[in-house]
């Protein structure tokens, strides 16, 4: 469930997109607000389809929303 190496810009992108609320984003991507909260705070790593949906909602490439920090490299 944890996503130690995954960071995201969802909060910033929400505010850049007309101060979109977590509930609005949740409704657009078809998940609960709790899932958005958990994803935004880095406690949950979303599936690829959900990550793409979030990126599409903001109209940006997925790498602008999520960044993977590989500690080994």
């Amino acid at each position: 469930m944890g996503s130690e190496n995954l960071s995201n810009n969802i909060r910033r992108l929400r505010f850049d997109n007309g101060q979109m609320t977590q509930q609005e984003l949740a409704d657009k991507v078809g998940v609960t607000r709790q899932t958005i909260i958990a994803t935004e705070s880095g406690r949950y790593a979303p599936s690829l389809p959900l990550a793409f949906k979030i990126a599409q909602t903001f109209g940006v490439p997925i790498e602008q929303v999520f960044q993977y920090n590989n500690e080994n490299s």
Binding site: M1, T32, Q34, I37
Partner: protein, 144 residues
């Protein structure tokens, strides 16, 4: 409170009531069994069988809720189910081996304990599952 949280509370309440009624019926049937097999025993056993109906309802309800679960909720549900299976196995292990160790292999137990063990096993597994989901949801609520 999201759907998963609500379904966990529903599950817990329903299983508790179902198991309580089931055990009560079996105990009543057991208390009368020495009087011989009569229609009251049959009725009591039939009522006890009603525990199957709650289980079916729970599964049906769960399935209907699953349609509304998102991927994170399904993951929590799967984790809780896994934990409940571990709990079930541990409970069955203890139920089978404690009497064996305490009473010895040559002793006997009453048949009435078998349905009680079954009902308790269902209850324990559902209790673990529901509590796991409730705790998980509560922790997430507390974290924001």
């Amino acid at each position: 409170m999201n759907k998963l949280h609500k379904s966990a509370w529903f599950n817990l309440g329903f299983v508790t009531i179902g198991c309580f009624v089931g055990i009560l019926c079996f105990v009543l049937a057991a208390s009368r069994i020495e009087e011989g097999f009569n229609h009251i025993n049959v009725i009591l056993c039939l009522i006890a069988l009603c525990i199957i109906i709650p289980i079916v309802l729970i599964i049906a309800r769960k399935k209907s809720y699953e349609a509304g679960f998102d991927e994170r909720e399904k993951m929590i549900d799967r984790q809780a189910t896994t934990l409940s299976v571990y709990g079930l196995v541990i409970f069955l292990y203890l139920t089978c081996f404690i009497p064996f160790v305490a009473l010895g292999g040559g002793n006997t137990i009453k048949i009435i304990y078998l349905p009680v063990v079954f009902v308790c096993t269902v209850f324990i597994s559902q209790l673990i599952k529901s509590v796991t989901i409730i705790v998980q949801c509560k922790l997430e609520q507390d974290n924001g």
